[in-house]
């Protein structure tokens, strides 16, 4: 999936300039792997298709010599296109994971390193979880606005994916450790025989 529709959605939520949109993309979808610089090519594409347009320029206050920033807003065509995207079915992302590939192609002598890699990735999952932390508490009672609930649900999905990953990593690590113990004993026995 390209960043185009996501950037269009962010512009519809609130007009903004490239830097601002890149920051919002990172804040909202940081773990999705969109390169922040992709915002600029997405804006170029959206502009050429007349889905967004300039809503004016903002002077670069602190730096007088810097060029003014273009503020983008959605066109009516852009809003229609975004609504079409919302109605389309959503594809399941392909699983193309480097650790899976290494595991599938590994040999017994790779087990020690794979165990280390699995532990490092578990620690990385916790680090990613730390990035998803939101300190603000929701006030008790009263109606809850949909945008707030939507953010919670998306964060929930991301965290549950991380949890599933960690659970798998722990199981894989446990099995690999057992097998590694067996293969190391076999190797030692082989050494003795040799």
């Amino acid at each position: 999936m390209s960043a185009k529709n996501v950037v269009l959605g962010l512009v519809i939520e609130r007009p903004g300039y490239g830097y601002d949109l890149a920051r919002r993309l990172q804040e909202r979808f940081g773990s999705s792997g969109f390169a922040p610089t992709g915002v600029y090519s997405a804006l170029d594409q959206l502009t050429s298709e007349a889905l967004v347009r300039s809503a004016g320029r903002r002077e670069n206050g602190a730096n007088e010599r810097a060029a003014p920033r273009t503020i983008y807003e959605a066109t009516p065509k852009g809003i229609d296109r975004f609504e079409e995207w919302m109605l389309r079915s959503s594809s399941l992302a392909p699983v193309r994971d480097e650790l899976y590939m290494k595991l599938a192609l590994s040999k017994p002598h790779n087990l020690s390193r794979l165990i280390e890699l699995a532990q490092a990735q578990e620690e990385d999952c916790l680090a990613r979880l730390e990035h998803l932390k939101r300190p603000a508490a929701r006030p008790r009672g009263g109606p809850t606005a949909w945008p707030e609930v939507a953010v919670l649900l998306v964060r929930d999905a991301e965290v549950r994916q991380l949890q599933a990953r960690v659970e798998w990593l722990q199981k894989a690590r446990s099995i690999m450790s057992k097998l590694n113990g067996v293969s190391e004993r076999d190797a030692a026995r082989g050494d003795r025989v040799a």
């Binding site: 490239g18 830097y19 601002d20 890149a22 920051r23 993309l25 990172q26 804040e27 940081g30 773990s31 792997g33 969109f34 390169a35 922040p36 610089t37 915002v39 532990q119 490092a120 578990e122 620690e123 990385d124 916790l126 680090a127 990613r128 979880l129 730390e130 990035h131 998803l132 932390k133 939101r134 300190p135 603000a136 508490a137 929701r138 008790r140 009672g141 809850t144 609930v149 919670l152 649900l153 964060r155 929930d156 965290v159 549950r160 991380l162 949890q163 960690v166 659970e167 722990q170 690590r173 446990s174």
Partner: protein, 248 residues
């Protein structure tokens, strides 16, 4: 974090015998909880979360390692001191509820105070504790009438009514939906910050950790902590004064 930890575990190990086999539940675990912070430890079923809490709260002694509370090694405390510590300094929120179905929540939460205080005074503090966690309306209710979310909050009020320094909660968000979970976890975080309390929780669900100040994961009896590596770091630059953001 700076200053002295309310709770400190240093290289703690604990194992159980299951038949002829010794099973290591905690291996070389070091963990601190400071005043004003909520620490969450995640683990799968059977990973040793409850044992960790029991050791941290002084209910079980480790085989190796040191557990200290406000700098005092629990092993060097007399039984009387340990009982006093458990009664006054550490609050364990249990969701078992009162033994009597007839007890109103105002009296249930007041129970831990009744040995030292009059019923009237204990009820006043109980009402304040229930209001503090946002369930003042449950004071006249009975346990069986409460929702899962209300039971959790009443249990926290019950554990906090003595104003402990450390609050310990095993799986505070069990059976709660996303919004109730946010409320309970938001409360635990704000309680830690505003009441200058150390909060230690264990959870089987990672989404419950999102509000904690620090997190860890129990695996094979060992505690893993975040790597410090950001998986997104290659795409991200520091945004002066605004945390992480994209280059622009």
């Amino acid at each position: 974090m700076s200053g002295q930890a309310w709770l400190s575990l240093e290289r703690v190990s604990k194992s159980y015998w299951r038949g002829p086999h010794e099973t290591a539940v905690l291996r070389d675990i070091s963990l601190s909880v400071y005043a004003g912070e909520c620490v969450a430890v995640w683990g799968q079923r059977g990973s040793g979360k409850t044992t960790l809490l029991k050791v941290a709260a002084g209910l079980e002694a480790p085989e190796r390692g040191v557990v200290s509370f406000k700098g005092r090694d629990l092993r060097r405390m007399s039984k009387v001191e340990l009982v006093r510590l458990l009664r006054e300094e550490i609050g364990w929120a249990r969701r078992a509820g009162p033994e009597s179905d007839e007890l109103e929540m105002l009296d249930y939460v007041a129970l831990p105070l009744l040995k030292q205080q009059t019923l009237r005074r204990a009820r006043r503090r109980s009402a304040a504790a229930l209001a503090r966690v946002g369930v003042a309306e449950c004071s006249k209710g009975r346990w069986e009438d409460l929702t899962d979310g209300e039971r959790t909050l009443v249990s926290i009020a019950h554990a906090m009514v003595r104003k402990p320094s450390l609050l310990v909660v095993d799986d505070p968000t069990a059976n709660l939906d996303v919004l109730q979970r946010e409320e309970v976890m938001g409360l635990l975080r704000s309680t830690a910050e505003q009441d200058w309390l150390g909060v230690l929780i264990t959870v089987p669900d990672m989404p419950s950790m999102v509000h904690a100040h620090r997190i860890g994961s129990l695996s094979d009896g060992r505690l893993l902590v975040p790597s410090g590596r950001s998986p997104e770091r290659d795409n991200v630059v520091e945004f002066p004064g605004r945390g992480r953001a994209a280059p622009g």
